[in-house]
């Protein structure tokens, strides 16, 4: 890929729809097929293998018998139902640069919605902070995309986080097997969040967790004294940047490690994404991961 435009550059496109389109069109051009696939338990029929498809799709038993490359088709193979969960708690409003975590998450969510709708998959959205604030059930129409994009454009950061509880509630509402993409900074009690993930997995959701972080959260710099105020609770603390950096780095590493371990156990995709990372690169990471799994 040629040099990717940075997030600030993309963020200069104020309209979320155009922004998402700009990102996705740049990406999809290089892709043959969407990586997002649905799931089916029922065999439908064989079809010929198409050049360019992954060779693993070939049913080799059939080939052994027929000496023809054939691919199994399942019921509902193309009918993916995805729900994008976006954390809009106050902490998501943090930014050390131009783009806040929330803006970044919105852009990612918009891009993902674009990709899914364009490949005729159903996509829904759940926006939450300490409560589920907005829920848009999955649909695959262009109107759905517009609805999602306009909802994304509209909301701002809210109150404190209760991430785990909300995910749990969303999972309760899901009837059908599908995919859940969580966009959050996960700055809540890990046990609650993991409980939510477990519920999603229980509901046969292919879960992708994108932990959004600001570069400053990932490493304080400078040699100054800081009066740090919690955006959610309003509490204040005074520390020098070295101590702040040491403790935060240690804390967040441990925090992320918990999620990594849990993700491994629950077979969840877990990615830490910095708001400094180009959108296409972030999306490609997700997409490449999806491809390897299939």
């Amino acid at each position: 890929m040629s040099q990717l435009p940075g997030p600030e550059e993309i963020a200069s496109i104020r309209n979320l729809s155009l922004r998402a389109k700009h990102i996705v069109e740049g990406m999809i051009a290089g892709m043959h097929k969407s990586p997002f696939h649905g799931f089916s338990a029922e065999f439908l029929e064989f079809r010929p293998y198409l050049t360019g498809e992954p060779a693993r799709k070939i049913d080799w038993r059939k080939y052994a018998k027929t000496e023809k490359p054939l691919v199994r088709l399942f019921e509902d193979e193309t009918n993916l139902s995805a729900t994008i969960l976006i954390d809009k708690s106050a902490s998501m409003a943090f930014t050390s640069g131009t783009l806040s975590k929330l803006e970044y998450a919105k852009t990612l969510a918009a891009s993902l919605a674009w990709i899914l709708v364009k490949q005729k998959d159903a996509v829904g959205m759940a926006v939450f902070d300490d409560e589920l604030r907005t829920y848009v059930p999955p649909a695959s129409t262009n109107v759905q995309l517009k609805t999602i994009l306009s909802q994304l454009q509209a909301f701002e950061a809210g109150a404190s986080t209760r991430c785990g509880g909300v995910i749990d509630r969303v999972a309760s509402g899901i009837k059908k097997r599908g995919m859940c993409i969580v966009l959050s900074d996960l700055l809540d009690d890990p046990e609650d969040i993991i409980k939510g993930f477990k519920h999603l997995r229980y509901k046969r959701q292919d879960t992708v967790v994108l932990c959004i972080g600001d570069p400053m959260e990932l490493g304080f710099g400078g040699d100054s004294v800081m009066k740090i105020r919690d955006m959610e609770t309003g509490k204040e603390i005074t520390l020098d940047s070295s101590t702040a950096s040491e403790h935060f780095h240690k804390g967040i590493s441990e925090h992320h490690a918990i999620f990594k371990n849990a993700a491994q156990e629950l077979k969840i995709d877990f990615e830490i994404i910095s708001t400094a990372e180009p959108f296409q690169k972030a999306l490609m990471r997700i997409i490449e991961k999806r491809r390897r799994l299939f």
Partner: protein
């Protein structure tokens, strides 16, 4: 508290730089709205506060390091102890150790000289190696730079300590802020020298006088008094200063052989005169008397004698030969007379050789000018000869001798006037306690009369008239010549009838002996290490001095003053003359173990050697000396520790 180099105090400005850097680097408190505080526990706050504290401590440590370094460079010290100046790395120390023989006094198995070198060694150990040290060289009379002082090079000698010269040399060569250290036993004569020169030093120079005087000094000594050939007896006096001599042995040695001995006991601070008889056939020209006793100073336990010098004294009588023959007769007939040869000559006949041969010159009834006499009296020749000058009341003689006129005018009085009393006045002894008159037959002579004499004679009165005029007086010139002046002639004369009385012979003998006294006991004695006027200076021929074993020591001719370094019996070989023994004895001043001290004042510090050693030991262990180094080391360790703890770099995550 004071500083050797106060200019370095400006270095404290570096602290201002530190403060400036500290405040410049200190940033404003940043306010930050952050996503969460969940990862900042109380320990983070504690850690942050500790880091802040360490930064402040680091700053303080660095400031103290600057202060300590400045203090080291500036040379901080306690100015209340003047000895602290010895710690000034930029100073120069001049040292002098008393070389006089009294430093050989032994106390507690160490001589005073050894103690002095030990004191100097102690000082050199504590002063910084950058301090320049000059030590006085007694031979060259100069201060010489010493890189490594060797105490073995110290040597004592007879003679004056030379302190005065050393101080003057210091004044000439040293800078104002330099230090002069004098280490001596400070005998009275040395102390007098110090008193005489201390004021020439500048107020900035520090003079440290360290005394090595013994605590309870005592000394036994022997002095040969006379050798009576007729009696084959050697007379000596034994002295006991400071302690009783319970039992001592005095021996007489001639040619290395003991020829007589005597046991002696002397009370404390007293003296005893002893006589040791020798077999006549053993009594030679020269020998020595030795005292054997437990004595801390043994250099005065031996004295030397030479028979010929003590037994015969030549007299030269210059003037009218007719008038003066009675003087010669009186001397010859004096009891136990030792006057020989007695030469009577007129003014025109007398020669330099006559003067040289005589011990005593008597001038009486001078009626002719005399060039050799004029030279003698004007101190151009034979300054050691004593003169008995009998004044003519009519002052005719003074017209003939300008030198005599000058001497008489200067010392005998300027208001001399003739007094004529037809009835005459009696001579009266003014002070019978005077050794001169001890045992004299009569204090007043009834039949002796003086009819014409000069009044207002000045000087020390030896004989008066019954109307309280001084008849005979004496004075000693600064150059050393003793004069005896008589206000009336002593030969055949109309001015008195002294020569016709029984008073005359003992008078002449006593006066003549008194005139010679200084010569015999002082001026005629040669003291080791003491310079004297060269008796051959200006003479046609010089003389050579030989040691007892025949080695030539000196040649005396054109030098104004001469000296022999050590006591002993030497041989004087004068060109064209017979050889004579020359006895050189110890100077009683060298063996005078009376000590004084003086209080420290101004820039002069006086300390006993033990006090001084304690003071400089205290100096070595003083906190000002090494405390700053300990402080500096501690601060540097603290700096390393604190810097390591505070220089943690903030971690960053990708």
């Amino acid at each position: 508290m004071s500083f050797f180099e106060p200019l370095y105090i400006w270095g404290l400005l570096a602290i201002a730089a530190l403060i400036a850097v500290h405040f410049l680097r200190k940033r404003k408190v940043q306010r930050l709205e952050f996503s969460t505080l969940r990862f900042f526990s109380t320990s983070a706050v504690r850690t942050s506060r500790l880091r802040n504290l360490k930064k402040i401590l680091l700053f303080l440590a660095r400031a103290l390091i600057v202060i300590a370094i400045v203090a080291l460079f500036a040379g901080i010290h306690n100015k209340d102890n003047p000895l602290h100046i010895l710690h000034n790395p930029g100073t120069t120390v001049y040292t002098w150790i008393d070389p006089s023989i009294s430093m050989e006094y032994v106390e507690d198995d160490f001589s005073l000289g050894e103690r002095a070198t030990s004191v100097l060694d102690s000082v050199l150990q504590i002063i910084p190696s950058s301090v320049l040290h000059y030590h006085y060289n007694d031979i060259s009379g100069e201060f010489v730079l010493e890189r490594n002082f060797n105490s073995d090079t110290y040597r004592s000698r007879f003679g004056s300590s030379g302190l005065e010269h050393a101080v003057r040399e210091f004044k000439q060569t040293a800078d104002e802020n330099d230090i002069l250290m004098l280490i001596s036993d400070f005998q009275q004569n040395t102390l007098k020298q110090l008193e005489s020169v201390k004021d020439i030093l500048s107020a900035q120079s520090l003079l440290i006088a360290v005394s090595t005087a013994p605590k309870d000094p005592f000394n036994y000594s022997v002095r040969v008094h006379s050798v009576e050939e007729g009696e084959s007896t050697v007379y000596a006096t034994i002295y006991a200063m400071g302690k009783k001599l319970d039992s001592g042995l005095v021996t007489v040695e001639i040619d290395g052989m003991r020829v007589g001995e005597k046991n002696v006991s002397v009370e404390k601070d007293d003296s005893v005169r002893i006589a040791i008889q020798i077999s006549p056939d053993l009594l030679q020209n020269k020998g020595k008397v030795r005292l054997f006793a437990e004595d801390p100073f043994s250099y005065d336990n031996t004295d030397f004698f030479s028979k010929s010098e003590k037994s015969n004294q030549g007299v030269l009588i210059i003037g009218n030969t007719h008038d003066n023959r009675v003087i010669a007769s009186a001397l010859k007939s004096a009891r136990n007379s030792r006057w020989s040869p007695i030469v009577v000559k007129s003014g025109s006949e007398v020669t330099s050789g006559d003067i040289r041969e005589a011990h005593l010159i008597i001038v009486n009834s001078l009626d002719e000018p005399s060039r050799p006499l004029d030279l003698l009296l004007s101190n151009k020749t034979f300054p050691e000869k004593s003169v008995l000058y009998c004044l003519d009341p009519l002052a005719n003689d003074l017209q003939l001798l300008p030198s005599a006129r000058q001497i008489v005018s200067q010392h005998g009085g300027q208001n001399l006037s003739e007094l004529h009393d037809d009835n005459g006045t009696h001579p009266v002894i003014p002070d019978t306690t005077l050794g001169l008159w001890r045992g004299f037959p009569k204090t007043v002579s009834d039949n002796a009369r003086v009819f014409r004499y000069l009044t207002n004679l000045e000087g020390r009165a030896l004989l008066n008239t019954s109307n309280n005029n001084t008849l005979i007086s004496s004075f000693t010139e600064p150059q050393g010549r003793r004069w005896v002046l008589c206000a009336t002639p002593l030969g055949i004369t109309d001015h008195n009838n002294l020569y016709q009385t029984g008073f005359y012979v003992p008078l002449i003998d006593r006066i003549a002996r008194y005139a010679l006294l200084s010569v015999l006991q002082e001026d005629d004695r040669w003291y080791a290490g003491v310079s004297r006027m060269n008796p051959f200076f200006g003479e046609e021929n010089g003389a050579e001095i030989y040691t007892a074993n025949g080695r030539m020591l000196h040649r005396w001719h054109t030098q104004p003053s001469v000296m022999i370094e050590k006591p002993g019996i030497y041989t004087l070989k004068q060109d064209g003359e017979a050889h004579k023994p020359l006895v050189v004895t110890y100077n009683p001043e060298d063996a005078d173990f009376t000590y004084d001290s003086f209080d420290s004042e101004g820039n002069i510090l006086f300390k006993e050697s033990e006090q001084f050693i304690s003071a400089i030991s205290e100096l070595r262990n003083n906190v000002w000396s090494f405390g700053i180094w300990i402080l500096l080391s501690s601060l540097l360790v603290a700096e390393l520790f604190l810097w390591g703890k505070t220089s943690t770099k903030p971690t960053s995550k990708k």
